[in-house]
């Protein structure tokens, strides 16, 4: 692949980097990522991945932009209120970088459609705000040997790890979703807008490292931070032989359907 003159300029700061260079930039431009949720995490992640020149960015979200989203979902503007989130996100990505192919799915990710959708991508970015979908992404990715970046934020805290097939998965640590209402959602508990940027940007960085094949991914360890104390921790964990999906005797061999919180399906 030869770069055009404008691509050489646009990606010059990557090309200069020893660990990216011409080859790494080419890998980024051939990369395909699916972003689940055009919200707090998906907004910064999709903007940075688009700016980096990722070849194909799929975005799935069933929702429309709400005024309450704008405090943290920075890909959407005031004029986008009531517009579909995937259309709003696609418009911004196109304005930012026309090299990127955007595939927009205005849909809920479910056990019925997830395998068909994720098979087109190299890696999945979980930017969802509910446990059922987090477990759905984990299970579908484990069963189809697909990498994903897990992300979650609440109040002033964030957590993320990167799943690579054959390594520890989300169920190795968290066996099953918490009961409904055991953990408040962002809409119940609140979230500092800027931590969505902190965590979504860490996830975007992991995706880029995955494409260029350099550095150490957040595999077999969870990165957590608390923005109030501004302390970051790495918590190591390993593949759990009793994991219900990737352990020695898996009990989950097909996708489970968990009920979504009511507030997630209002539209």
């Amino acid at each position: 692949m030869d770069f055009t003159e404008s691509q050489i300029e646009r990606y010059s700061r990557h090309i200069i980097l020893q660990d990216v260079g011409v080859e790494g930039q080419q890998k980024i431009m051939e990369g395909k990522v699916l972003i689940v949720g055009a919200g707090g995490l998906g907004s910064p992640a999709s903007l940075y991945l688009a700016a980096a020149g990722v070849g194909t960015i799929g975005i799935i979200d069933h929702d429309v932009v709400d005024l309450t989203n704008l405090q943290r979902q920075v890909i959407h503007y005031t004029a986008d209120v009531n517009k579909s989130k995937v259309d709003s996100a696609r418009d911004k990505i196109r304005q930012l970088n026309h090299d990127v192919k955007v595939v927009a799915y205005q849909d809920l990710l479910s056990s019925d459609n997830i395998f068909d959708i994720i098979k087109e991508y190299d890696i999945i970015l979980d930017g969802t705000d509910n446990f059922p979908t987090k477990f759905l992404i984990n299970d579908a990715c484990v069963l189809s040997c697909k990498a994903f970046s897990h992300g979650g934020i609440l109040r002033f805290e964030g957590q993320t790890f990167t799943y690579i097939p054959e390594h520890a998965c989300y169920r190795c640590i968290f066996n099953s979703p918490p009961p409904p209402n055991a953990v408040p959602t962002c809409s119940q508990a609140g979230v500092l807008g800027s931590i969505a940027g902190m965590l979504g940007t860490i996830q975007a960085t992991e995706i880029l490292k995955f494409f260029i094949g350099r550095g150490q991914l957040l595999t077999d360890r969870m990165l957590t931070f608390n923005a109030l104390s501004m302390e970051f921790r790495n918590i190591s964990f390993s593949k759990n032989k009793n994991c219900p999906i990737c352990g020695e005797h898996p009990t989950i061999t097909k996708l489970q359907t968990y009920e979504l919180p009511v507030c997630e399906i209002k539209h």
């Binding site: 050489i8 010059s12 090309i15 200069i16 020893q18 260079g21 011409v22």
Partner: protein
Amino acid sequence: MATKQLDITKEHCPMTFVKTKIELSKLNEGDILEVLLTEGEPLENVPKSAKEQGYKVLNIQHIKDSIHKITIEK
């Protein structure tokens, strides 16, 4: 062993080294790239950056006026 030429006398930082890296990426191990550049920032930085990123700078030669030629081995 192939030898290629590159003229970056009209470029400014960081495009000087960007263009150099792009040409180097098209070469095979052991091939030579001769780069024409101007003194000042390009002459100071391009050979230094090339060395830092693992390439061999074999020679720096004054051509005329402010123009120099550096010879890099991939």
